[in-house]
């Protein structure tokens, strides 16, 4: 400390070595750092002012709604996912309605049309969002300071406001869930019917696992199961005797069968009763066939006569009538033959079996 310090040049002490080290271009470097800091700060402030829309003219839209819940100043208003404006202020109106003032830059105001709908919606996760939905882009532009009112308000509103709340259903959901849990609790409680049923099932399975097996489980006790087994034994014996009885019956049926075969031969066998009858019917059929042939020939003669008497067609009306009658008779005979054939089916099926 033997140096003579001056006010402008403080004493150079060993403690000052850090600050007395020679530094090249000290002033320039520090000035550069300060200039960089200043430029960055000023640019950032200007950028933030630009981002907050200080430099652009805006138009005002007032959204009138019944609650400002979740809405905050500075909140974005989006149109198809793009931000087109911000909430500038929120105020409680004289009629107890909430007035949300939205500032929309002039360049984005073209998306706001008359009959526009603004939706204030709360998502299940996240905050509240205000969304503009243009109904008709052909409609005239929304004027500056337009007031949008809730749906169902005054008629003739220039635009409307809707509220949608994704979390509105949560209380109802919670109530339902609570009921469900109560039911579940009731179901699984020790004294519940489900518990009692399970206890019964356990008793039943214990019985099944016991000596009586499944039968004891089904009938309630081993005694009952033994009775069933005894009943089954008796049934088996009964079935044996029934089998023997049916064998004897079979023999009886075989004999009856032989008797029936004999009777069949008598009735339907060669030279049997049915054979004779069939023959008689065949003859009758032949006679009727002949009669039909004769009548056909008469018909042909009559047709010839009709041709010959072509000149005297008018006078042959009787003949035509006659022919019609003959035709009718012929049809009747044909029908009669068909009828006989139908009623005597032996022609088609010569053998008949009795059951």
């Amino acid at each position: 400390m033997d140096q003579t310090p001056t006010p402008t040049s403080p004493p150079a002490t060993s403690a000052e070595t850090t600050t007395t080290l020679p530094v090249r271009h000290l002033e320039f470097k520090v000035a550069l750092l300060l200039a960089l800091t200043l430029v960055l700060s000023v640019s950032f402030v200007a950028y933030v002012l630009y981002a907050r829309g200080v430099f652009e003219s805006t138009q005002k839209v007032v959204l009138v709604t019944d609650s400002s819940d979740g809405v905050s100043v500075g909140m974005q208003v989006t149109f198809r996912g793009f931000s087109i404006g911000r909430v500038r202020s929120i105020a409680l109106g004289g009629d107890a309605t909430v007035r949300i003032e939205v500032a929309v830059p002039k360049k984005d105001a073209r998306w706001l049309r008359v009959a526009n709908v603004f939706i204030i919606e709360r998502a299940l996760v996240g905050g509240v969002g205000i969304r503009a939905a243009a109904v008709q882009l052909d409609n005239p532009l929304l004027p500056d300071g337009a007031e949008c009112i809730p749906q169902g308000g005054l008629s003739g509103a220039i635009c409307t406001v809707l509220r949608g709340d994704g979390s509105e259903d949560i209380p109802r959901l919670v109530t339902n869930l609570k009921d469900l849990l109560n039911n579940l609790q009731g179901l699984t409680a020790a004294d519940s019917s489900l518990g009692a049923s399970l206890a019964n099932v356990r008793v039943a399975t214990d019985r099944i696992a016991g000596q009586g097996g499944l039968l004891a489980g089904a009938l309630g006790s081993e005694e009952n199961a033994k009775k069933v087994v005894a009943a089954l034994d008796r049934s088996n014996k009964l079935l044996d005797s029934l089998t023997a009885a049916s064998a004897r019956l079979d023999q009886v049926f075989a004999k009856a069968d032989q008797a029936l075969v004999k009777a069949d031969q008598r009735v339907f066998g060669r030279e049997g009763v049915m054979d004779e009858t069939q023959r008689a019917v065949a003859q009758l059929n032949a006679v009727l066939g002949d009669a039909r042939e004769s009548l056909k020939r008469a018909d042909a003669v009559l047709a010839d006569a009709q041709k010959i008497s072509a000149n005297a067609k008018g006078a042959t009306d009787d003949l035509a009538g006659l022919r019609a009658e003959v035709d009718a008779s012929l049809r009747k005979v044909g029908a009669l033959i068909d009828e006989i054939n139908r009623k005597w089916p032996f022609k088609r099926e010569t053998e008949m079996r009795l059951p």
Binding site: M1, T4, P5, T6, P7, T8, S9, P10, P11, T13, A15, E16, T18, T19, T20, V23, L26, E27, K29, V30, L33, L34, L36, T37, L40, S41, F44, V45, Y47, V48, Y50, A51, R52, G53, G74, M75, Q76, F82, S83, R86, V125, G126
Partner: protein
């Protein structure tokens, strides 16, 4: 324990508390004096300007490359984590907002303050403690030079300017990296990015950030210097001066950060 002993310990506790209060009062008094002196133009002459420039050089310029690198790496990492976490919880639309709020408003200023406190705050603390113990400051006083004006205020101003400068640079890096992390190098996200930045930096937030950095800067110099001037003039007290200065500085930084958070979010 006898009543006398209780009374002794109570009076001892009161004494400690009174000393603690007096010590903080000296910090505030020193800070206020330094600020008033810094605000008067006649406090600056060639020597003080030179010392201030040196303080800025050693505190900010010398570490700038390393700081930029560490800050960029840290920022990018934190931003990616925040963006990924927001995406996981289905809050991707708020990712940029989260990232900028976390990084630019909170982490970068605190990181810069701690960085400067550990590097330059500790150095200032030791330097001034040694000057005080050796009687250099008294020598200056006797020589007619105001040690406050020539030795202490330039350090305070230099530290504050350095912290503000590094915070601005770190914030700019974080803002740029947030854009890159969200949109890559395509200019397609500029509109959305501008919207988000506009929505984050309203007047209270911008003011809070603008005040927090200078407060951090002042604390980094004022508290260690004040702690250095308090100790008795014995060499063994130099370590105690540094210890108490750094502890108080850490407490003050935590208090400033806590107050800033409380004002913003409560």
């Amino acid at each position: 324990m006898s009543i006398r002993a209780i009374g002794r310990s109570a009076s001892g506790g009161l004494e400690v508390f009174a000393a603690w209060c007096a010590s903080w009062w000296r910090v505030l008094h020193f800070g206020a004096t330094a600020l008033v002196m810094a605000a008067s133009p006649q406090a600056y002459d060639r020597a003080t300007s030179n010392l201030m420039a040196r303080q800025i050089y050693f505190t900010a310029w010398q570490i700038l490359p390393g700081f930029v690198l560490v800050c960029a790496l840290l920022s990018y990492m934190v931003i990616r984590i925040v963006v990924a976490a927001a995406g996981t919880y289905g809050l991707a639309e708020y990712a940029l907002s989260f990232a900028v709020r976390v990084q630019v408003l909170e982490l970068v200023p605190t990181f810069v303050a701690l960085f400067v406190a550990l590097r330059s705050g500790a150095a200032i603390n030791t330097e001034v403690a040694l000057m005080h113990i050796r009687g250099d400051l008294d020598a200056l006083q006797r020589a007619g030079a105001d040690p406050m004006r020539h030795q202490l205020v330039p350090r305070v101003i230099g530290s504050a300017v350095s912290v503000v400068s590094l915070t601005v640079i770190g914030g700019a890096i974080a803002l740029m990296l947030a854009y890159v992390a969200m949109y890559g190098f395509s200019p397609g996200g500029i509109d959305e990015y501008t919207e988000v930045i506009g929505s984050i930096f309203d007047l209270p937030v911008a003011l809070g950030l603008g005040l927090k950095a200078p407060f951090f800067g002042l604390a980094v110099a004022i508290i260690p210097i004040s702690a250095s001037l308090e100790v008795p003039r014995e060499a063994r007290f130099a370590a105690i001066a540094v210890r108490s200065g750094m502890v108080r500085l850490f407490l003050a930084l935590a208090l400033i950060e806590g107050a800033s958070l409380a004002i913003k979010y409560i």
